[in-house]
Symmetry: C2
Subunit: 181 residues, 2 copies
């Protein structure tokens, strides 16, 4: 961030009065440009003891498996965003049961929120961002081909104790291991 998006003047990066962190500030119009983490919302769609995964048709992690999820948009509820992504990536309709996973990745300023979501029917298919969509039982999950640490955490939490809607949300975060998230 170099220029003010309101008046096009150059920005400073310094601590505003009464704050304790440096922000991008415009000395011309006075606007402070805060930067905050983004929220990625999605569903863990299940059918009996199976879960619905999507094989990614886009980067990052092209060809790897994920659950339907994406950046939350302005103007929607968290659960609406999660259902929208499930429609877009898997053409699937779900009923949201509970907040299943909250997972932070601080070094890239991202927070993931995944919902436990019951598939309404078996009418699903790949959206434009997916190569393939299918149901997996626990012993079929392609653990080495899961796209993201947040999704792995979500699936492990689900199968550890077969999550239900009456369970508390699982709270996790990325731990550096030398591998990418």
């Amino acid at each position: 961030m170099k220029y003010c998006s309101h008046c096009a003047c150059e920005l400073d990066f310094r601590v505003p009065d009464g704050d304790n962190l440096p922000r991008f500030m415009c000395n011309h119009c006075g606007t402070i440009h805060y930067e905050n983490p983004r929220l990625i919302v999605g569903c863990l769609p299940f059918w009996e003891d199976q879960v619905l995964l999507c094989r990614r048709a886009i980067e990052p992690r092209h060809g790897f498996w994920t659950i339907p999820a994406g950046f939350m948009e302005n103007g929607e509820l968290v659960e609406e965003g999660a259902m929208r992504e499930t429609r877009e990536e898997a053409n699937a309709e779900v009923e949201i049961e509970s907040v299943h996973t909250v997972y932070s990745i601080p070094h890239i300023n991202q927070v993931y929120m995944f919902f436990l979501a019951r598939l309404k029917n078996l009418d699903f298919s790949p959206g434009v961002e997916s190569l393939e969509t299918r149901l997996f039982s626990e012993n079929e999950i392609p653990w080495e081909e899961i796209a993201f640490s947040s999704v792995k955490f979500c699936l492990e939490s689900f199968y550890r104790n077969r999550s239900t809607a009456s369970d508390p949300a699982q709270l996790g975060h990325f731990v550096r291991t030398g591998k990418k998230s």
Copy 2:
């Protein structure tokens, strides 16, 4: 948003190729400036059957009661942000127990996440953004002087069934009633 924060050129507002929503786009350097909801994180600090509230020393809702919460910062975990706000606004140390409340306010692009958090001790006091901090039993809660709908939802959820760490997160959202959130 009028000018590109990377190159200072004027922005268009249109749908990028492969997208389905209009975005602020720079025709000069090609940057797409996405806008997404912001996450407000906080704690519902409790001690036995009492909860810790803070009376706001700042706008909006100066003089009204809230729980310690604020915008999540880049580079932190959700639970770290909630604990930081609890220190800043109430000089209180807590142990995070669970995700208690997830509450969307879509017309202002905000998502609230509040944690059920056990006070480690009774050593708390107002931070610079608070006029007063004190413990309330259920029958003492100043329901008509609660600052925000998200906080009212959180407190009502807590007392409806005396929340514990093994409960699922409460999922809610702002409902227009003619009153402000």
